[in-house]
Symmetry: C2
């Protein structure tokens, strides 16, 4: 049977502590070249309305340890509104019912069969937060206990979960430009984690004295100023430009998730005008030269990269681009747990296989 799960079902079986362990094992496979990743690609054509584009995005990966291959697909309408003075890249929920489209397909590397078709939302969130947590585990000070979160959205919560899974936090601060959003975030996570979570009135206030600073925003401009960096900090982000360049120059270690700083992108000739909407930085909104030559998190996890050598050093992890194999490993873990609990909708595998040699 091929399993269909909802985001709610996935959330019910995927804890952050487990997610970090699954990723730790995967990153060792990646460092050895056993787990393999096909870089993300984006095809971009004009959307149905002026100022919108359609993007078909995919990435693949195989984890031999899990005996699973994954293809993650996003089929998105995008636009670039300005909110709170920041240009943001947003996905329009244009599918029936006002919904978004992101899928993870899982395949067995023993039989080839399609094991599951999953929405990508919860896995995406957890693998990003979990990867940030993996970097905190391997780069932050052992005694790090104060975390600052820049951003108050869905990924900001995952970033906090990732740090909380690997360091015994005693205090959390959050800043985002909208006071209601940051205060709601503080209330929500104070209750969830049973920790003091304080809403700060500025980014500077949030990060002052923090051991761990994690940015998780949709902003296309940096949200961290170089002068805010303090000795001993570990910083992480989900978009490589969020921290700005100044702190990278001061850091002892700047690790990246992949050397391909930007996805392979194929663009319709009429889309170039829309690309200007993302602050003139082109489709991806990022510069590729920020990650070239940097050590990979996988090398650091496998003990073959640079490490923090003193409590005063600044360390940074740029979670610059996703890896298809993250969906294979985390997806396989979800599937194992879902089967054990009898969750999901089973469809006949014959619907997704064939009796002809293609």
């Amino acid at each position: 049977m091929t399993l269909i799960l909802s985001n709610e079902e996935i959330e019910s079986v995927l804890g952050m502590a487990d997610c970090v362990e699954v990723l730790e094992r995967l990153y060792r496979e990646l460092a050895d070249g056993r787990a393999l990743v096909r870089q993300r690609s984006d095809i971009i054509v004009p959307g149905p309305e002026p100022g919108t584009v359609y993007g078909l995005k995919s990435m693949d990966g195989v984890s031999p340890a899990w005996e699973v291959g994954a293809v993650r697909i996003n089929s998105d309408l995008l636009h670039w509104p300005v909110r709170n003075g920041f240009t943001r890249r947003e996905k329009v929920p244009a599918a029936p019912g006002g919904r978004w489209v992101g899928l993870v397909l899982l395949f067995s590397s023993r039989t080839g069969e399609p094991l599951a078709i999953l929405p990508d939302g919860v896995i995406q969130r957890m693998r990003v937060g979990g990867t940030g947590g993996l970097a905190v585990r391997h780069l932050a000070r052992e005694d790090a206990s104060v975390a600052a979160i820049l951003g108050s959205g869905w990924q900001a919560g995952a970033a906090l979960m990732g740090a909380h899974a690997v360091r015994p936090l005693r205090e959390v601060r959050v800043y985002s430009p909208n006071p209601e959003h940051r205060e709601a975030f503080a209330r929500e996570w104070e209750e969830k984690l049973d920790l003091p979570v304080r809403s700060a009135r500025s980014g500077r206030e949030a990060v002052a004295g923090a051991d761990i600073v994690l940015a998780a925003t949709n902003a296309l401009e940096p949200v961290f100023e170089g002068a805010w960096a303090e000795a001993g900090m570990h910083l992480g982000c989900v978009r490589q430009h969020e921290l700005g360049e100044a702190v990278l120059r001061r850091a002892a270690v700047v690790a990246v998730n992949a050397h391909e700083g930007i996805p392979q992108h194929l663009m319709h000739p009429e889309v170039s005008q829309h690309a200007e909407l993302s602050g003139g930085r082109g489709w991806t909104g990022v510069a590729s030269d920020m990650v070239e030559g940097r050590p990979l998190l996988a090398e650091i996890v496998a003990g073959r990269g640079p490490r923090r050598t003193s409590p005063d050093e600044i360390t940074v992890f740029l979670n610059n681009i996703g890896l298809g194999a993250q969906f294979a490993a985390v997806g396989a873990h979800v599937l194992e747990r879902a089967h054990a609990r009898g969750l999901g909708r089973e469809l006949p595998t014959e619907w997704f296989t064939q009796d002809v040699h293609p």
Copy 2:
């Protein structure tokens, strides 16, 4: 609703004449850079048994004319048996029920929604045969009427359909090493096309005097000898090495389907021994330098490439690698016809969409 179709349903709505017209329109879009293609990628890891490998293959494409994006995925166990003296690359039907796994997912570029999940077999066959037919239309002599088919399998039938759709054939010859196979092919297609189809005892006998020669085999060695080439012939193949290099040197035009001669491939360190099984040519079994710098079929279809300038010239089309956009355009056509006839199994689109911004 998201539509699930079977290969039988797809076959019932996809005729070769229509398929060639759909591809003609797509190739004009491709020539203008409006239809876009993400090159095929293969991730290759060890399979469950010695001598087998697992391959996760994908390609993407968007056709703005059809307002559809496609991701085509193959999840295969492979081995390389020697049959009739030829090393072949074969997919093992290891999925439950002894089945193979190839999928085409279609998405709307207006809403992002998943429109359909289809098996790839029939569309794969028809788009390969149809692309060969498109090349026959634009490169073979106008009065070409005798076709030779090298190979007697599923793709050989599609190659014949492709030629038949664009030139009024009066005679067909077929050769493949197994007499039973070639005789069965001759009987089957003589009846289907109401044309004389003769089984030849050698490749040379099949091609002597033919106007159109189409190779459609799984052989990893050439099946056509350079000395067999005759003035005025058009030749096509589904694997770029099938015709050998000699005829390419004599040809006035050698068109290719894509300049990426081999897929992007990412290989587990233990797989290299299996790659030796494919005749020492590595994973893909082909050399990339055969296609570099050649004119694209899309340019020729759009009237911007070289053309046959005399009835004595030899022309060649190397259908060297598939294009994801073929699945978008042909898949969209199939979907339109299937909806009109009420075919298929409708699943709730909500199963494949989500209410979170991923």
